[in-house]
């Protein structure tokens, strides 16, 4: 493994790890706030218990998110010093704002997690709302920075150095809006279905448990709408890509030959050597429609892209197909839930539905990983699209395989610990005796 490959692998691995915790850090506060708000409105103590138990899991995930995010901030320099030297002043604004959002988030998360007995319930709920908002904002800011790497704006090149720097124009880059919307929805969809899936699984074992019924409802309420909106937002992303990042678009669609009235390629194995995507289903005209809203429009294929500027077509295409498949599944489950609810059925009593939701537990997270592979691998060989190659950005430090191996091992161990601790939290879900304790104050009041 050469140093460039080691650096890319380390960056990708660190980000793929961090994004799980980041997504939870955006999604969980919203779930907790919804549950706590329902407690304040209905007075049902199960909701309070729910918010409290979720907050324990969130504390674990948040700590790992914070430390792995710190690693990323340094890795930008440790692995890509030339990139940061070039890009820092241009795309740094969102990072500064992100730093601010983190600060607010960390402060109020401390207040939220440790302040159950120290604040009024109203102040406590507000602390949760601030955490949810600042978490979403920090995600939005960092994704804006990433969008700039994909569609760089806000500077002109003069003899290899950027001049006329305009950080505001850099923030308003063409990919920023589509990417931030898609990512924020993804965070809610992934967390919502992740949590719903766990509680659905437990409901399959203990069907009458009120705790899990309420949890399932709150989680679907957050995850479902996001999963329904996700294809619409993904379509906007695709239209943006067709205009601004044709190579990435062609690679993700497995579309080699430039043509009008282009068919949509579903599935299949792209072969870079022959320039064909084999074993695929082709839907006539659909790619032109999806890209430009016109069945006859010409769609640029990889043949218009110089061969040394192709990304890894196979990986990008397969990742994209995986995301679409998972997104379709989540959308279908949401439609099913809406149908059942509309018919006045109790979701928690439909075992087939519960099985489907339990199956969906990891799917949102997998879709997030796959989607990021499309974005990041699809940008290659560029670190700043059309401006700087990844190979020119890497640090001169040799032996990068060592930190890559080391961080991989470290993160594997952390993952094991996190999974074990989450399992412990979930396994402790309330038993019959706990119910008595939770409900006693209400019964006494009544």
């Amino acid at each position: 493994m050469n140093d460039l490959l080691a650096a890319r692998s380390q960056m990708g691995m660190s980000l793929a790890f961090h994004i799980i915790f980041a997504v939870v850090g955006i999604g969980m506060p919203l779930l907790m706030v919804v549950a706590e708000r329902r407690w304040l409105v209905t007075g049902d103590p199960v909701y309070l218990e729910l918010a409290k138990r979720w907050s324990k899991g969130t504390a674990i995930m948040f700590a790992v998110g914070a430390v792995s995010g710190t690693v990323l901030s340094f890795e930008l320099g440790l692995l890509w010093p030339h990139f940061m030297e070039f890009a820092g002043p241009i795309f740094g604004m969102p990072f500064s704002l992100e730093g601010l959002a983190f600060f607010v988030e960390a402060i109020f998360l401390g207040i939220y997690l440790y302040g159950w007995d120290r604040l009024s319930s109203r102040a406590h709920l507000w602390a949760g709302i601030v955490v949810a908002l600042s978490g979403a904002l920090s995600g939005i800011f960092v994704v804006i920075a990433n969008a700039w790497m994909n569609t760089p704006t806000g500077f002109t090149m003069a003899g290899g150095v950027p001049t006329d720097i305009d950080p505001i124009a850099a923030i308003l880059n063409p990919a920023a809006l589509t990417q931030t919307i898609h990512m924020t929805l993804a965070a809610y969809a992934a967390t919502g279905f992740g949590v719903a899936g766990v509680h659905a699984f437990l409901l399959l074992r203990k069907p009458m448990n009120t705790f899990h019924r309420r949890a399932l409802m709150v989680a679907l309420l957050v995850g479902g709408p996001a999963a329904l909106l996700q294809p619409i937002s993904g379509d906007r992303s695709a239209k943006m890509l067709a205009r601004h990042q044709p190579a990435k678009f062609a690679a993700m669609e497995g579309h080699f030959r430039t043509e009008s009235a282009a068919p949509l390629i579903i599935g299949g194995i792209p072969d870079e050597a022959t320039g064909q995507t084999r074993y695929a289903i082709r839907v006539p005209y659909l790619l032109s429609v999806l890209a430009y809203g016109d069945p006859l429009a010409e769609v640029t294929g990889l043949d218009r892209v110089p061969r040394d500027e192709w990304p890894n077509v196979m990986l990008v295409h397969l990742s994209f197909e995986l995301m679409i498949a998972l997104g379709t599944f989540l959308m279908a489950i949401t439609a099913w839930a809406a149908w059942l609810a509309w018919r006045g059925r109790e979701l928690a009593e439909n075992r087939a539905f519960l099985r489907a939701v339990a199956l969906a537990t990891p799917m949102g997270f997998l879709a997030v990983e796959a989607g990021w592979m499309v974005t990041e691998l699809g940008r290659q060989p560029w670190i700043i699209h059309g401006v700087m190659r990844t190979a020119d950005a890497v640090t001169p430090m040799p032996g990068l395989i060592v930190p890559f191996t080391f961080f991989t091992l470290l993160y594997c161990l952390l993952s094991v610990a996190v999974v074990w601790l989450m399992y412990r939290q979930i396994a402790k879900s309330p038993s019959a005796e706990d119910w008595q304790r939770i409900y006693t104050p209400v019964l006494r009041d009544a």
Partner: protein
């Protein structure tokens, strides 16, 4: 007086972030150190006090470092690039420390309360708390010594090891570690109203205070022998003598306050003392960001960027100061009972 430029203001912001990180997060690391050295019949209660004191605030305190890094790479990108290349190894090790400290601390709170499980996470947490400030100090010491070249050259060892694996940076590492432990011990005296626990940490504060003094003297000696840049800065300039007197006076004040058990006074004086020590470093290399060649002005990003960042910092000030005050009032308003 130099002109007040945007670059200088951002550099001031960078210094403020580092100072805040030292006196807030530094004390959290110091708490970890005292977890490692918890002894005597109140060992368990010492550890519980430390955990309660840092639990709600460490993540917020930690963001100061992130702010510093972001300011560095947005506003002084060439300095960030040079630092990251030459100091790849110590920075990576420091990151490992940061990762293990934060996660082990959190895992300990949420894992089984059985003694052996707690001890295992506790050891990881406390060793990581010890390593991290040490490496942070090494990084700072290397910068102060002017050992960050424009481009790495020579063998692997010449380029990536020798600059920082030197007596002076190591002494600064020890100084930073002692300072963190000192701050933590002083703060912990006001976190409890149990006189026995207060005494435990009072004693530790004295010990760590002596450690700070010794490490500082060793660093000074090494500077005199090996690092003329620092030695010259600390002794020859006009502010040097006045500065030494003020630092000495504050150290004396903290020690007297501890002696007389006026813990709240010590709690105020100790962080000021720490910030002054950090200012010594800043003053000694001013106007250089990376001595001996890269000045603040030369490293600075274009003015648009600096002005926007200053705007963001102003906004941050308005939002963060009340939030931080609220955080500390909720959790630090009264001593805890453990």
């Amino acid at each position: 007086m130099p002109d007040i430029t945007p670059a200088l203001l951002v550099a001031g912001g960078l210094f403020t972030a580092l100072a805040a990180y030292l006196v807030m997060a530094g004390a959290d690391f110091g708490g970890g150190v005292w977890d490692l050295f918890a002894t005597g019949p109140r060992r368990k209660r010492q550890r519980a006090l430390i955990a309660d004191a840092i639990g709600p605030i460490w993540e917020a305190n930690h963001v100061w470092l992130i702010l510093a890094v972001v300011l560095l790479f947005v506003c002084f990108p060439s300095a960030f690039a040079r630092l990251s290349v030459t100091l790849h190894i110590p920075l990576t090790l420091m990151l490992v420390g940061i990762v293990l400290r934060g996660s082990a601390f959190t895992f300990r709170s949420y894992d089984s309360q059985r003694d052996d499980v707690q001890r295992r996470w506790g050891l990881l947490f406390s060793w990581a708390s010890l390593i991290t400030p040490l490496l942070l100090g090494v990084v700072a010491g290397t910068v102060a010594a002017g050992a960050i070249p424009v481009r790495p050259s020579g063998t692997f060892v010449d380029a990536f090891v020798r600059p920082w694996l030197q007596p002076f940076p190591l002494a600064i590492g020890a100084l930073t570690l002692a300072l963190c432990a000192y701050l933590a011990a002083v703060y912990l005296t006001v976190e409890t109203d149990d006189p026995a626990l207060q005494d435990d940490f009072r004693l530790r504060a004295f010990g760590a205070g002596v450690g700070v003094f010794v490490a500082a003297m060793v660093a000074l000696l090494l500077a005199w022998r090996h690092v003329p840049l620092v030695w010259h800065g600390l002794t020859a300039s006009g502010w040097a003598l006045g500065y030494q007197v003020v630092v000495g006076a504050l150290a004396l004040l903290t020690f007297t306050a501890l002696w007389q058990r006026r813990f709240r006074l010590a709690r105020v004086a100790a962080p000021i003392q720490a910030v002054l020590i950090l200012s010594g470093w800043a003053l000694c290399q001013f106007p250089y960001l990376l001595p001996p060649d890269l000045t603040i002005a030369a490293a600075a990003a274009p003015n648009v960027t600096l002005q926007l960042v200053l705007g963001a910092l102003a906004l941050g000030f308005v939002v963060l100061v009340p939030s931080l005050i609220y955080l500390f009032r909720v959790f630090k308003g009264r001593p805890q009972r453990v």
